[in-house]
Symmetry: C2
Subunit: 343 residues, 2 copies
C-alpha cells in the first residue's frame, strides 16, 4: 500500500460517508438505510429474523494471516449462516466497527470491499452501523436481519425421536486451515526468512478465511418442500452442535463415524499434521455448515443431493448421545468446542 | 463484592443461560428469543426500525466512575433514543458483549441488572446477542429494533424552510457531569486520600451516567396528532445535530442563545468550572434529547408542553446556519462535536 489516509482526517461522519457512498440498496423493503438514526424495513406480512455476532481481534481472528478483505467477507457470512439456520432468508445487515489509528482508510476500504462482496453475493442490504475509535484492536459487530414465511422458521428444540441427523458439506476443514496458518505463523515468527508453505492447501485455508453460508441448502429445502424438524449452523464443531440439538429437543442420538463427511484435502492435511480427521470433523469449529434433523419420510427427498450427508438419528433422552466408531466402539459425545473464556 | 465467580467456570453457554434465565419476554410479537441462532419477531403490517451502537471501554466510558449497572442501563437507552428519533417505538434489542477475565460473573450481573431495568422501563424484549472473551477492555454492542406505523417515521432530511426548530428537555448537563467526574478522577489519581466532592451535583452526574430516552415526547406527538417534519437525537451536541438537519434537508437555520434550555443545576456547575453554559449547551454531547422541526401551524399544539423549547427556525440554504447571541452578535454555527478519531 503506497497511500495512507489517516482516519482522523475524515472524521466519523466523513468516514461513514466514505465507506458507504458506493453502496446501493437492493431490497425493495429498504425504506430508510445508512445515514439516519435507524433503518426502516418493510415486511409485507413476513416474520423478521435477527441475529448478531461480535468479532474481536486476537480472539476471533489474527490479522497476521487474515487479509482484511476476507475478514470483511467472513464477518458478514457468519451472521448470514445464523439466519439460514432458522430456514430464513437474510435481507439486511448492520455493521459496527471499532478501529484504532493503526488502521488507515485504505485498510478499511479493503475490509469493506469484502463486506460489500458478501452483500452482493447474498443479495443483502447494509442498512446501518456505528464507526468508532478503539484504543487497541479491531472490533467488529454485525447484526443480520432476515425474513421467513410465517411459522416456517426452524428452531433447535423441535427434533423428534427417530429423526435423521443430517449435515451439509464437509467438516473439519476450517480447523485444519487454522492449524496450518498457526503453524506457519510460528515458523515465521521464529525465522522471518522462511516463506509460508501453503502449497496445495487452498482448500483448508479457504474454508477458514473465506467460508460461505449455505443458502443453497435453504433453497433446496424450499424447492423440494422440505422443512427440517430442527436446525442450527455448525460454528463450534459438530459434537457441540449435536449436543445442543439433543439438549434443547430433550432427546439422545446415535452418530456414526463412517458417515461423517470429510474432504480429501482435509484428510491429507490431518495426516500431515498427525491429527485424526474424525476428531477434527467432530470438534473443529467454523465450518459454517448446517446440521438439521429430518423426518424419516423425507429421506427420499435428499438422497440425490450430494451436499447433504445423513450422519445419525435422534433417540430417546435415556439412550444418551452416542458416537459409534468405524472400529465398532461406542463413546459418549462430549462437547470439545472451544471455550473462549479459558483461552 | 465478596463473591467472585470466574467467567471461565460457566463457559459461554453457561454464561448466556446465567445472564438470561430470569428474563421473560414482554412483546406479543416475540416468537423466538434468546437461545436459538436468531430471533423472530412478527410485525402485523408495521414497519421495522433497526439501529445499532458500539460502546468501547476507554473511548465511550470510564469504569473508574461508571457503575456497571448504570452502564448496562445507558447502553440500552442510547439505542432506544435512536429509535424514538425516528418517531418509532422500540420493541426489541440484541446485546453483545466482549469481556476480559478481569470481570467476574458478579460484575456482569450488575451490568445486566441495568440492562434489564432499562428493558423493563421501556417495555423492551432482549432477544439475542453474543458473549465473547476480549483480550482487554469491555466491548458492548447493542442493536435496537422498533416498529412504526407505515410511513409515519421521521427522517433528518425532510425539514422545510420556516419550520420551527425544537428541542426536548435541557442541554449541556451530561457534558458538565463528565467534566465534574473527570476532574474528581484526576484529583483522586493524584491523591487517593481525597474523597470525591459530588455534593449537590446529582443532576449533572445523573444526566451523564443514567440518561433516559424521550419516549414521553413521542407519546405526546401521537396523542396530539403531531408529526415532526424532521428529527434526530442529541448525542454529539446540538450544534453538530442542527448542522446535520440543515445539511440533509438542504437548508440553513437561525438559532437563538436566549432560547436554549439549560437547567439551573447545569448553569451553576458551569459557573463553578469557569465554563460558558451556552457553549456547554451547544457543544456538549450525550444529552439524548430530541431535536426536531415542526410546521409553524403546529406551534399551538406544543406551547403547553414545558418539556419542549423552540430554539430557532429553518431558513434557505443561502442564509447559512446562524447563531444569535443574547448580546446581539451573530455567528456561523460550527460543529464542535467530539471526533473520536482525534482523541
Amino acid at each position: 500500500m503506497t497511500e495512507r489516509t489517516e482516519i482522523a482526517s475524515l472524521g466519523e461522519f466523513g468516514l461513514i460517508d466514505h465507506l458507504t457512498k458506493n453502496f446501493e440498496t437492493q431490497q425493495a423493503s429498504t425504506i430508510v438505510s445508512v445515514g439516519d438514526d435507524a433503518a426502516v424495513i418493510d415486511h409485507f406480512g413476513k416474520q423478521t429474523v435477527i441475529t448478531t455476532d461480535l468479532l474481536l481481534e486476537g480472539v476471533h481472528f489474527d490479522l497476521m494471516y487474515t487479509p482484511l478483505k476476507h475478514l470483511g467477507y467472513k464477518s458478514v457470512v457468519v451472521n448470514l449462516s445464523d439466519v439460514y439456520a432458522m430456514n430464513a432468508t437474510p435481507t439486511h445487515i448492520t455493521m459496527s466497527i471499532g478501529i484504532s489509528n493503526r488502521f488507515s482508510v485504505e485498510a478499511l476500504n479493503e475490509f469493506y470491499e469484502g463486506v460489500y462482496a458478501a452483500c452482493n453475493k447474498y443479495n443483502i442490504d447494509l442498512i446501518g452501523g456505528d464507526t468508532s475509535a478503539s484504543q487497541k484492536g479491531f472490533v467488529i459487530s454485525v447484526t443480520a436481519i432476515g425474513e421467513v414465511t410465517p411459522n416456517r422458521f426452524v428452531k433447535r428444540s423441535t427434533a423428534a425421536k427417530g429423526d435423521l441427523i443430517c449435515v451439509s458439506g464437509d467438516l473439519g476443514g476450517a480447523f485444519l486451515g487454522l492449524t496450518l496458518l498457526e503453524r506457519e505463523k510460528k515458523i515465521y515468527l521464529e525465522n522471518p526468512q522462511i516463506q509460508p508453505d501453503l502449497e496445495n492447501e487452498d482448500y483448508i485455508v479457504g474454508r477458514l478465511l473465506k467460508p460461505e453460508a449455505r443458502r443453497d441448502i435453504i433453497d433446496f429445502f424450499e424447492k423440494n418442500n422440505i422443512v427440517p424438524t430442527a436446525m442450527m449452523d455448525v460454528s463450534d464443531g459438530i459434537s457441540s452442535e449435536v449436543l445442543h440439538l439433543c439438549k434443547q429437543s430433550n432427546l439422545g442420538c446415535n452418530l456414526y463415524e463412517e458417515k461423517l463427511p470429510v474432504a480429501e484435502a482435509s484428510k491429507s492435511a490431518a495426516f500431515k499434521f498427525g491429527l485424526d480427521p474424525t476428531v477434527c470433523a467432530l470438534n473443529g469449529g467454523e465450518d459454517y455448515e448446517l446440521i438439521f434433523t429430518l423426518k424419516q419420510d423425507d429421506y427420499d427427498k435428499i438422497t440425490l443431493n450430494e451436499e447433504i450427508s445423513v450422519i445419525g438419528y435422534m433417540t430417546d433422552l435415556e439412550e444418551g448421545c452416542k458416537f459409534h466408531t468405524k472400529g465398532g466402539n461406542t463413546f459418549d459425545i462430549a462437547a470439545q468446542g472451544w471455550n473462549a473464556f479459558n483461552a
